[in-house]
Amino acid sequence: MASVEVLLGSVDQIPKGEGRTFRVADREIAVFLTAEGEVYATQAFCPHRRGPLADGLLGGTVLMCPLHDRTFDLKSGCGTSHEQLGLATYPARVSEGQIWLRPEPTLAREAAE
């Protein structure tokens, strides 16, 4: 069931190395722009204590939640400080300076995948 890609607008809405929260239909999604210019999207709130992930710190593709320093890899959604935690991720891409996102969550896979 392929859902329709959504246009989030210009990539300039997100400063490099930071995240912003977007509302897409019925949900909020955190979207990050890495220092290298790649975009990643995840669920908006930390699975630990619901910290706003877009307010976190980004290093490469590792994100640190602002409330209690839980860390996650944005590519897989896997928890890197606490492996029992994981984030839902959304496929996102930049095309001609515009961010496109498919609002279809993928949950963090086991390391094997």
């Binding site: 859902s3 329709v4 890609e5 959504v6 246009l7 989030l8 607008g9 300039d12 809405q13 997100i14 400063p15 490099k16 190395g17 930071e18 912003r20 929260t21 977007f22 509302r23 897409v24 239909a25 019925d26 949900r27 909020e28 220092a35 995840t42 669920q43 709130f45 699975p47 204590r49 619901r50 910290g51 706003p52 307010d55 976190g56 710190l57 290093g59 490469g60 590792v62 994100l63 640190m64 602002p66 409330l67 320093d69 860390t71 959604g77 606490h82 492996e83 029992q84 935690l85 994981g86 984030l87 839902a88 991720t89 609002p103 279809e104 969550p105 949950l107 963090a108 896979r109 086991e110």
Partner: protein, 815 residues
Amino acid sequence: MSKQRLVVVGNGMAGARAVEEVLARGGAEMFDIVMFGDEPYGNYNRILLSEILNGTQDADGITMNPLSWYAENGITLHAGHRVEKIDRAAKVVVSNRGARERYDKLMIATGSRAFIPPMQGARMEDGSLKPGVFGYRTIADCQQIVDYARRSKVAVTIGGGLLGLEAARSMTVLGCESHVVHLAGHLMEMQLDVTAGGILKKTIEGMNIRVHTSKLTTEVLGIDKVEGLRFKDGTELPCDLVIVAAGIRPNSEIGQFSGLTVERAIVVNDHMQSVDDRDIYVVGECAQHRGRLYGLVAPLYEQAKVFAEHITRTKVDAAYHGSKLATKLKVMGVELASMGITDPADDNDEVVQFTEPKRGTYKKLIVRDGRLVGGILMGDIAKAPFLMQAFAQDAPLPEERLSLMFDLGTPSAKVTYDEMPAESQVCNCNGVTKAGIAACVAAGATTSKAVMTQTRAGMGCGACKGEVTELVSWLLGGEVEEDPSVHYYVPTIPLRKPELMKEVVARGLKSVSAVFRELGNGEVDPGAKPALASLLITVWKGEYDDERDARFINDRVHANIQKDGTFSVVPEMPGGVCTPDELVRIGQVAQKYNVPLVKLTGGQRVDLVGLKKDDLPKIWSDLGFKAGYAWGKSYRTCKSCIGTDFCRFGLGDSMGFAQRIERRYRGIDSPAKLKLATAGCPRNCSEAYVKDVGFVAVGDGKWEIYVGGAAGAHIRKGDLLTTAQDETEAMLIGSRFMQFYRENAKWKERTYTFMERVGLERVRAVVVEDSEGICADLDAAMEASIAATVDPWLEAVAPKTANQFTSVIPTKEEV
């Protein structure tokens, strides 16, 4: 695309845990979650019910998920609703109070209820239990028992299993004469053999509890309330309170009504799905897996994990293969471990046994084909972790059987933990291994409490708390010394702070990204970014290249993030003094923005708490104050007493001095927060003795300067650095101390730790006596830093980054 609906019937330990496992995997993005619970509360730890009974905890104390947890996680909870019907065709469940919820996926975790064995006179005509007869399964049961016990003299517990024995113990605590009546020939026959049961009986009788074994209760005596029990052998026991703890029965009727296959409980496959309906999962005591039912918490949690992995598709082949039952418990102060069978099946089973009845010690192992198939440890359970591991993994045992039961040659605890295999399970309730605890410690946990909170080890029955604590201290002791990176300013750059500062200056690195690029190993540690930003600001001052992504959120929006993602705003208020007009303005802003909380801070300012990020710029503009820097690793505030203006005892102008301090150092970044105070006399009303820097007026214009004080989580009186001859000198030496600290303290190292590390003598030599000839440099550096600070609230009208204060950016769905 909308979410699927996951409806969970049952809000006990299995149901709530299963939902937690789903959320931990990001499942909130996939499902809208609705839960039904029969009881009118959140989820609580049923294992600890005896603590309610004996009064050591109240209901809050054993709560694991309070009602607020459901709201915070967007879960709709119907508490106090019993689901009566599942319409599988329409995919709808209906509760006894009329709540209807549609589902895409359904999870049944209805658990079990107390089994009341058939006894004449146990119930009244309307089917309710006779007054004085109680089941023992819920908080409500316990509260009623406690209430009734106040009016009772003799209490009998039917059932001599773990629950029954704990209930009987609680009855003695409540002042009743306590009896246990047990059907089998010895106590806890599921976990113990005859010998162990006999030893336990003696121990329990020593606690003033009378134990009656091989007794079948046939009748509850009394017309309108309990007056006694009659047994099959014809004997009677007068009593006025009866607790029935004779086992549990699964609540599987919901499966029968809904047309699911139910044998002893609802039958499931290895994915914990009903064998009849792939959209219905069943977890916990109401599930029957490969012919077996499980009532211990560890298997329930394993099932919950498999369920979560499977339903979220994070592990599509997640499967439950059944659990081998091994348990460690503490019954009435007696430590006990039990696994597998309690008696040999035939002559080929090898039995290894040790008994020391006087001390209540008993050990028995049953070995088949060189592998452990059963075991009982009582009194001394030191070998339990090893044996339970061997049992669970079906591992071959050493030929030397004696070493299975005893630690010979008294090895130290260090050797034991060293030898302990990484996958060895420490907490059986939550399935936490030695490796899991080690990983948590490696990730930065420094206390056993932190480890327990993060891994959940010790948070089930609590029997392993001691072991977790020992293991954590062993891990900390062992690893702290080996890791050279503890001395690095940030973990991925192998330089101490002074070396790093030199390198940064020599290479002209003015931004965090430049430091990582030039000195790092290619890896950008997000936690290290704010540390480097702080260092670069101290080094470069106005020339620092302020990349906002390197700053913690507080420093990006100049406010303090709260647990719910809102922010707090603290206007500057030098010396805790403001004009009536300013106070009115703060009040008007608080009203205008509907501030949820207005609170005076410990630093004599006003805190407006619970504000939306989007409102921050408008609030700053309306306030017309400068920023109070209450969010940062920086100079925070200077408290003062009323000083010489009005006070009868004041020796120095503490209020004026505090204001001059604040106007000078506002916005100065530092390795950790700096909280200052000035006191007009040694009565110390403003607590200057316990501040990072405190000034105390002692007369003749002189000020004592105290540094490294603390009165937070850590309490320390500051060290008397020197006595300055006047305010100008006090300001100068205080300034030098702060600059020396800024250049030499580790990231997040408060002055109280810094002083103990560097030493008062050295600090005094440098900043008072100028022993290293750097005072002029320190003074110049501080002056340059002060000159470079800009009020960050000016960004209200000139934001620094795109959407800096936007909490949510709206989008329109387009193709």
